[in-house]
Symmetry: C4
Subunit: 384 residues, 4 copies
């Protein structure tokens, strides 16, 4: 046994998040696709990304941003860069350390982890290893007592911010999952086994119960997940008011796709808004989030913080979003692929890639801190 | 012999209508292409579809559409969803049950079947098995007596609505058909046989006379088809007036591609307008129908019901069309591929796919019924 | 020897002009490319074609164009359809009958052949076999006596219209030709022979002197061609005035790409204007001709006839051009490929394809004659 | 030994600069990519090129540009055409003669060579072989004494113009380089050797010390390069003022991407502005340079000369840039590939290709000299 951390060594060689995505192909295809895929024809999935490419930079000629300060605050919590980790379900399908690894990586990187309401480790366990602030993402269930209990657990465990998802009140059909025969939890379905035979390391971990649902905690989590999915209800003003009354800390609503929703959300007392179409995984055909952002920023007019997710694969994307008024972005697939490829070291590396790219882009725009970013540094390119 | 309905079992595994299209490749290529292809360079065929992708959704954040009511009425007839089955000729080329299967499936699904004027079963036989309302689609012939006789037969058989097609008064050249050596009726031309050799199940049915023109009824239908094609005439105001005087029930005109045609159509007493370019199968270069729809809806201004067809492959397309003012959409190729792949069970499945997608999309838009749909839920995406 | 005309039989099976292009691949690649290729990166070549696809039809719903009259006149000459054959050089490289075949085919089809100033048969021989009106296309040479002599020959031979090309006063570099080692005349260069070895029928004809420059007449023509290319001069107002004074018949200028050139051209007494970028074979980057046409039509305002060429591959393209104000279109590559594939029968077939498509499109637009065409039948599609 | 210059013979057969790029694949992939690649996803790299294709020509019909005068002046220096050679680092990686070959070729072609601040031959050696005017490109270093020394050396060596690069103050990550394992200097890394094994001529020259860093001069240059990269600082108004005070000759700023930067630059006394995004090699997502040019030209309003680089691969691109107000363009990759493919003869050939294309395009636009070019000869094409 040597002291060499092979995962870290290999992760360090990964140049970009899109290369990390390729590394994640060590997973069985069904699992890879469950992270990678979107709803329907994946039009929104693709557009989330392409819309960033249609935004161009117009940097000033004379500027010296010798060193850049990437820090900011998110709802009062200081972070090392304007980026946090989005809630993604069932991380243990990818790696046995699941959300524990993600929480540790977020803490080391000095940023926030938004834990999914259908995490594959109990929220208390995740909080137990976390060294940075946590958000708790809530799916609204028909069973109010269950919801109340969840809120209490999150509060007790020290979660700082409650994030209510409003764009996933209907279960979507992700056709890749259906074609891959993916079941939740992934039992040893024929197709999964056939696919996994070509990925022996994942299969071995599955058989040992390290990934998948074999561990006791995971089994509980999975039961929880299935229950949650079945009880999803729509989030109305009444529901949101009910939650607002039961959560003292900052409250964020995730899944806003229209500027004209903001007034009501603010009236209901939300502290933050996440422009999101669930990464193109819910309503295919929904607008690209970076194209919605300016309209939401204008409607909110600085009264609360606005965030955005979907299609963020580059530090330059983060810069574009912040220049357009986002307080920070949430990344999802990018870190999940890091987790899938190299576990915690993979998440570390993804965060490092973002940090380096963010720093370099800021420097090239002559900005010495994120507060220097503004829309005048961008130009709608005519690329189309 | 077991009681297992293999077609239904297989059809149930099909995830989307585009997957159903792939399943329909069990047909000889010439027959597949006759359904799949368009006129000329197929520019309109492609654009009908792409134009839907350029329309984006802008769903509200706060909404609860716990359960959705998809029902509506079409010219007074209640239907289970805003979708009916477009007239498509010669269904028996695809499956021996032809239009009988389609009529049965439409009835089970609680919607309307618009029977083609060149159906491959007599209109009376189709009416005999139908359990839902039927439209009769009329091609205008130079022989007025023949037309009068057709109207009388349709009336007697209980067809509810007469649908006059105005965009197919000139026979189009579909180049795939010419290249495939497709003849109507499909005699055993060399190319067809060579193609069919690789599709033994279809060939066997053809040899047994189950598909193609071998059965007596089919032969009559085919003679009828050829006669019809040869006698097509243009539909003028005079012709339409003549028809209007001879049909007491609702009268629909199919093939409208301009808003400024509507005033005259309404003056002539039509009860419904179908925006259609014949699925890109007549005039290549015609505008995409979903892009024409708003202009027709505006011109009609609620005085009659407006429908649209062409490029509808998703429940979300139905939602877009209804949000833009269509009363309902007509689907054609999608159900024909269902018929080709798995007979009646295939049509059942296609209708089920549309229903599920429609329901889910409505829910994700926070609409509890189709009347809630409106243009404000859409945004012209900048995708290009 | 049977009486079967195999070329006519085979040509009759060709469905479209783009299929005819494929048939023309029986030529050695160097010769095929010399017809098919454009200048530079072939941006203009492609755009000429794509620009037609961006124009959509908006046909009226109620119309009966039972039979269509395609006839019109071109500078006073009656033609059977609004289409004439553009001047293309060196037709004998493609087929031994060269321009003689083209002239015969044009006559049979009831239209005009514009003979190239660098034809591979003497202009008198072409006039000798022609049964329809001819245009003579003139390249302006530095040697005025030579020009005068040319004009005299054309006048004596009965050419009706003089067409002065103004967009080819500088020799273009067509890179496919350079890469293919094409020389004019095509001597037995190594590359040509290697390419031709795979096309034995063309090679045999070349060796027999039927194609290429072996025949005496052809040799003279080739000498003429080379001389012409070397003496090309720019066409100024003075030059055009000089020509106008020496040609009594109608005078057409070919190669106009700006509306603001028209006033001066009319002042100088031209009778017709051809919007042309030389089929994308001269200045790569020039605008697509169908996009220039409306601006020229507006500037000319009906005072002379306006024509257009470049990218015309469908009868529907002809309809679009005429609807936008062109008196007629010129086709080039399309008939040259017919000539290459099946000689005179190939040209016959190409003209027949255009006629049938033109007739059908006119009918589908509800127009009973070409004069019914107008811009309101078109819509700028949003295809991009 | 014959007198045949094989490189010149082969170079003469190259038709276009893009073909020259293909010839440069004789280099090891790592070296080729180091020239060819861009930053990030290479969006800007591609757009620099595509943006030229979106600009169309609108040539006048009547014009005679019998012969064209391509000469102009650049900051007072007469040049044979409006094109100069951009500063590109480390030319000796491509060919043992490196910048010496480039300087000789520029001189023969009657144009200017802008020598990189990280050239692989000492600036004095380059000046020693140059027969035309030279620019010296300066990267601003934190070490002012080093900068002062550089300026003194450039002045002493007779460099005419100082060109300060402002868009490369942060080291970019070019991912192709990372993936190729490229180190500067290229030591015999495993990947490089493996790649080079398939390119024996380059490898042999590398082993002989003719390319790479083996020669003493080259070693010094490489040390210089590494030092420079490490000391890069941002260029502020103060820094530029400091330089302006220390350089008597013309001063050019390279890397301007906004019109609103110009006023300050002019106030600081610059004599020329190069619109540049570093060829897409620094900030991926930066706007295409030819789309920025008009805004800079308007802001400068004739007070100083404006240049542009990035995406220039055709003489017609040069014409477009000059028509939009550029005094001249800088080419980079194009001549570097010439150097890579055939050494000095390759650079000669690239310059000859540009000259011929430039001449022909000018002629086709009816311009007899570069001063005749103006924006009215262009049209924004609708190609998208």
């Amino acid at each position: 046994m040597t002291g060499i951390d092979w995962n870290a060594t290999r992760a360090a060689r990964v140049v970009s998040t899109s290369e990390m995505r390729k590394r994640a192909r060590r997973l069985p295809r069904a699992i890879f696709d469950a992270v990678d895929g979107g709803a329907g024809d994946e039009v929104t999935l693709r557009e989330n990304r392409r819309a960033y490419e249609r935004i161009a930079f117009a940097p000033p000629a004379l500027a010296d941003a010798g060193s850049r300060d990437l820090t900011t605050t998110i709802l009062g919590d200081p972070v090392s860069m304007p980026l946090l980790l989005a809630p993604c379900g069932m991380a243990r399908m990818l790696n046995s350390a699941g959300e524990l690894a993600v929480a540790r990586a977020a803490g080391k990187a000095g940023t926030i982890f938004a834990v999914s309401g259908v995490s594959s480790y109990p929220l208390e366990d995740i909080a137990g290893v976390a060294t940075g602030p946590l958000w708790y993402q809530l799916y609204l269930l028909s069973d109010r007592e269950a919801t109340t209990a969840k809120l209490a657990r999150a509060r007790t465990a020290g979660y700082r911010v409650l994030c209510v998802t409003v764009d996933a009140t209907i279960a979507a059909l992700r056709e890749r999952d259906v074609r891959n025969g993916l079941e939740i939890p992934p039992a040893l379905s024929l197709r999964l086994v056939v696919g996994a035979l070509r990925k022996p390391s994942w299969l071995a971990a599955f058989v040992r119960g390290e990934v998948g649902d074999a561990g006791l905690g995971a089994r509980v989590a999975v039961r929880d997940f299935v229950t949650t999915i079945r009880q999803l209800i729509g989030v109305t003003s009444d529901e949101l008011r009910w939650i607002r009354e039961r959560w003292e800390g900052p409250l964020v609503v995730k899944g806003v796709m229209r500027g004209d929703d903001c007034e009501e959300l603010l009236r209901l007392g939300v502290d933050g808004i996440v422009v999101s179409n669930h990464g193109g995984r819910q309503l295919d055909g929904a607008r690209a989030t970076i194209e919605i952002l300016p309209e939401v920023v204008e409607a909110v007019n600085g009264r609360v913080e606005v965030f955005v997710d979907g299609g963020v694969w580059r530090g330059s994307d983060v810069v574009k979003a912040v220049a357009l008024g986002a307080r920070a972005v949430l990344i999802g697939k990018a870190y999940m692929f890091g987790l899938a490829a190299y576990g915690e070291a993979g998440v570390d590396r993804v965060l490092e890639i973002f940090r380096v790219e963010l720093d370099r882009t800021l420097g090239m725009l002559g900005c010495s801190c994120v507060a220097d970013l503004n829309p005048s540094l961008l130009a709608k390119s005519s690329l189309g």
